[in-house]
């Protein structure tokens, strides 16, 4: 039996660029579970409870392979590469050709199923990874920044779809409550296209902010986008719109009863000296 295992590991490590010890451990684990289960198992259906430990080993291997950046094919080969050595060994164990044939067929069936399971596990992990990255991107791309006491800005970058608008809306509203701001500027300079759906999403956000008692200003509308909005017949008349974030900020300051004034030359010199010290 030990000879068989060694042969296994040897055949396996030739095909993978994995560290020898780790591969040997994985092969040993799989073979151990496989042999243990094949002694007690009555059927070749791997969903039966006898095969449970083998399934666990396969999914563990698939998990570690995904983390190490293996391709789906390489993960499946881990299982399929077992076939040839097994087939070489089987004739030596039993002499009767009919029994040999039956054993070969069942071993073939089993390994096929485990190979498929490894592929599926691999794919599942990859999909989980993609989903998580997508969520992270959503959170990263919608920061709410405080411009002044009571004035928030929300620079939107990238396309606005329903899921994103929901997120933008929620984070904006939450921030309005947290900071007690009465004015929010939504800057859409980074939004490449505005269609009816995006416009509707924007209007919804503005309406929700108004319900909470905050005024919204939309800024950063590029000339082409202004043209598109008019051609589409979208009504943005209920919302205050400004061409640039600076204009919007100036209006926000005026609404909050604040103003920006230029410092006189002598005062500026004094404050510069202060900064240097």
């Amino acid at each position: 039996m030990a000879e068989w295992m060694n042969q296994q590991s040897g055949a396996g490590s030739g095909r993978h660029n994995l560290s020898g010890a780790e591969l040997k451990e994985q092969c040993d684990l799989f073979l151990g579970a496989f042999l243990g289960a094949s002694r007690s198992a009555r059927s070749t259906d791997i969903s039966s409870p006898e095969w449970e430990p083998v399934r666990e080993v396969v999914s563990d291997v698939a998990k570690s392979r995904t983390k190490q950046g293996f391709s789906a094919g390489e993960t499946a080969i881990f299982i399929f590469s077992l076939k040839r050595p097994l087939f070489d060994v089987l004739p030596k164990v039993t002499g009767d050709p009919a029994t040999q044939m039956r054993q070969m067929r069942s071993v073939n069936d089993l390994l096929d199923q485990f190979g498929l399971q490894a592929m599926e596990d691999f794919q599942k992990r990859r999909e989980e990874l993609i989903l998580r990255q997508q969520e992270e991107m959503l959170e990263l791309s919608t920061p709410v920044v405080k411009l002044w006491d009571g004035i928030l800005a929300l620079p939107v970058i990238g396309t606005l779809d329903s899921a994103r608008t929901q997120m933008v809306m929620e984070s904006l509203l939450q921030e309005i409550v947290r900071t007690g701001s009465t004015i929010a500027i939504i800057d859409i300079t980074g939004v490449p296209t505005v269609d009816t759906l995006v416009a509707q999403h924007l209007l919804k956000t503005v309406a929700a902010a108004r319900l909470m008692g905050a005024d919204c200003i939309i800024s950063g509308i590029r000339p082409q986008i202004a043209a598109t909005i008019v051609h589409l017949g979208v009504e943005l008349t209920t919302v205050i719109t400004k061409a640039t974030l600076a204009d919007a900020f100036a209006l926000a300051l005026r609404k909050a009863g604040l103003s920006i004034a230029k410092v006189s030359t002598s005062k500026k010199a004094a404050s510069d000296r202060e900064l240097e010290e």
Partner: protein
């Protein structure tokens, strides 16, 4: 039957909704409030819904109705302290309450009412 208290604060009335609104309660509040506006000759109504976490279309419409009724009785209505989730729900329901004034909290609501009254006089 439980009722929502209506407090008089100078020229304004303050309604703080601290329980889950059900339809019967909403109708009772509507009746009570209009009566109190007439009785106290209030110039403004503040409805604080900061602890209201669930709204449906009926409650949303009721808020709009209260605002319209008070306006007829010469009192301005300000809805204050709406939760983000409630605001999103109302917008998704298509109820953006166009005739209702809103403020972030009671303090800002009172400022808003004062400013509106000064403008009138």
């Amino acid at each position: 039957m439980e009722r929502i208290p209506i407090l008089k604060m100078g020229r304004f009335l303050l309604v703080t909704i601290q329980v889950d609104m059900h339809d019967q309660l909403a109708i009772a509040l509507q009746d009570d409030l209009t009566e109190r506006i007439v009785a106290t000759a209030a110039k403004g109504v503040l409805i604080d819904i900061s602890s209201l976490e669930v709204v449906d279309s009926f409650i949303g419409r009721m808020l709009g109705n209260i605002a319209s009724m008070s306006r007829i009785l010469d009192a301005q209505t300000v809805v204050v302290g709406m939760q983000p989730a409630v605001a999103i729900t109302l917008v998704e329901l298509g109820l953006s309450l166009p005739g209702v004034r809103t403020a972030l909290n009671v303090e800002k609501g009172i400022d808003l009412l004062r400013a509106a009254l000064e403008l009138e006089s």
